[in-house]
Symmetry: C2
Subunit: 348 residues, 2 copies
């Protein structure tokens, strides 16, 4: 198939640092190419891809100090995609609702993956107008606040099979990996580790909006002897950081739409102790790939039982359910379904 | 003609407080109705208009604390306009480039008035893609940084003839009216008034982004005995505030795209002493409606000569060039030209 992937421009595809959406787009795009499809990736010019790159802006917007208005490049992207629409069998956008008014009028099958939370009040009236636009949820639970959207599939994220390596958890510490923000609850992780008598390593970035929270609520906790704050880590450090941990703590305080770090841990053979929220029950299997808990007491109990889980089995579950190839196969099946519904003829 | 006016949603049309774009849209819309046209105004639901209101969001976004994402309502507006496009002979948008990818694909003549500055670097590549989109500049000088856009007219703003009243300048003070921001240079106004030995009244709002500038650079100057800071004023106070002033000081430090306050002063019969920048030489006639100066020395000299100008003549120049009816007539001529170019048949 001739597939257009339309990525955000905030980060490169894949991102140089943090950036969940653009990472998933990168994994999907490369996996589609590996499956033999002809893929064009609309993205920032510093992206690296196995597909044909259609660069919209020279650099990722977040790293380009010359850009004052982040929306102008997005509107260049929309126009560029629209002009080339007929070159594709399907257009797959990752621009949230920004593509909707245009995509529906191009006469080419299109679909949008929703990467974020759907509980913003503005989305209720918005989807009153866009209730027919085909969208993909990244977990079933993500749909809850916005049932009226036209979900054509839930497709879980996946990682390239060889991206991260299985390790044995020899470090014996608990790991926290993500943004420092109230909804990720690093303070809960610090308390759980303290009560478990284990060290906690936090690998985390602090966004500008979260610096107040970090300074007032988290920084004072970092001086405790069991806590090590290692800052932001890159992809190449994740196998070590996650794989040598006894478990990943994921004590989220919000309805996480997917939670990529859970499958990163699984790829390293590392069990996940996660609060029952959002996508967690869809991603984790309680007692197999980790423990799903409801509070800090249960999390402490789970830490005590963590050695009962089989790290080989956890890695095997990752390979069974969460590789980029599986994600790509799921999307290809969806693309075909959308093209057939629209009566478009596509090559096998 | 059947005309769609597509307004921003940040402020009501007209705005409850400050807001240049939405005010001009309000004046234009009402004047088009008065000329006998069938006008539909897409705007926030708290707008007040002689046209048929198509409310997109219940309240102006800036005054609606329930709104987190200002763009979702705009994308509701785009879709709503697109669905109704065939009801109109022309669609006139005031959404900057947000309408471009969609408007060009609706098969209905459309035009966008550019209300802001055009020197942002992102606009250069943006207009590489959108160089054929018909746009209206609000002054000729506004075009300078972006000559490659498809300007189909310059149409100056206008005010309803009866909105403001001519007064005699009996207050004898100098007036400053606008935002407190470095480009409006209220500090220059304070210095010019001091050197002229006249009182200065500043009627100004302070945006959140300008609060640092206000606190550090302007607030310390307000304790001088010749300065009176009166805060933000409403429409009904302008005839008094401007009309009782000996002159309006407009010592701008940026290429003002239009400068509505200049024609507000003229409507009150009040001369304007303005720095030669942006639209100023197009709006003012030196020695007739005010003085165009290059620095503070020349501004002080101009204040000394201000009584040589005829306030009746200034009001007459306003009525000759800057009423909302003239603005509306100019737009109607443009709409007809666009419709003819597209081969659309429209009623006379």
């Amino acid at each position: 198939m001739r597939i257009a992937q339309v990525a955000p421009l905030t980060e490169a595809v894949p991102p140089k640092f943090y950036g969940g959406t653009e990472r998933v787009v990168a994994y999907l795009t490369d996996a589609l190419v590996e499956l033999g499809h002809e893929v064009t990736l609309f993205a920032s010019g510093d992206s690296a891809t196995k597909a044909t790159l259609a660069p919209i802006w020279p650099r990722a917007l977040r790293l380009d100090p010359s850009v004052h208005d982040f929306f102008a490049p997005i509107f260049m992207e929309l126009e560029t995609v629209a002009r080339r629409a007929r070159e594709f069998d399907v257009i797959h956008a990752h621009l949230d609702y920004f593509g909707y008014p245009l995509l529906r009028r191009l006469g080419v099958p299109s679909v949008t993956t929703l990467h974020g939370r759907l509980d913003l009040p503005e989305l209720q009236p918005l989807y009153g107008l866009y209730g027919d636009i085909p969208v993909v949820s990244i977990s079933d639970s993500q749909r809850a606040p916005l049932p009226q959207a036209n979900y054509v599939a839930t497709i879980h994220h996946g990682l390239p099979k060889g991206l991260l390596e299985k390790r044995g958890g020899e470090g014996g510490y608990l790991a926290f990996l993500g943004r420092i923000s109230p909804e990720k609850a690093p303070d809960a992780a610090i308390r759980i580790a303290a009560r478990s008598g284990l060290a906690l390593k936090l690998a985390a970035k602090v966004d500008r909006v979260d610096q107040g929270y970090f300074g007032s609520r988290i920084e004072p906790l970092l001086s405790q002897s069991h806590v090590e704050f290692v800052g932001e880590i890159g992809e190449h450090q994740k196998s070590d950081f996650l794989g040598e941990a006894a478990a990943l703590l994921f004590p989220i305080a919000w309805p996480e739409p997917f939670g990529l770090v859970m499958i990163e841990a699984m790829a390293c053979g590392t069990p996940v102790i996660a609060f029952e929220n959002g996508s967690v029950p869809e991603v984790l299997e309680h007692g197999v790939t980790g423990f799903i808990v409801r509070n800090e007491d249960e999390a402490v109990e789970a830490v005590a039982e963590i050695r009962s889980l089989d790290r080989n089995r956890i890695r095997a579950e990752f390979e069974r359910r969460f590789t980029a190839r599986q994600m790509a196969n799921n999307y290809v099946a969806l693309y075909r379904r959308l093209a057939e519904a629209q009566g478009t003829k596509i090559p096998p």
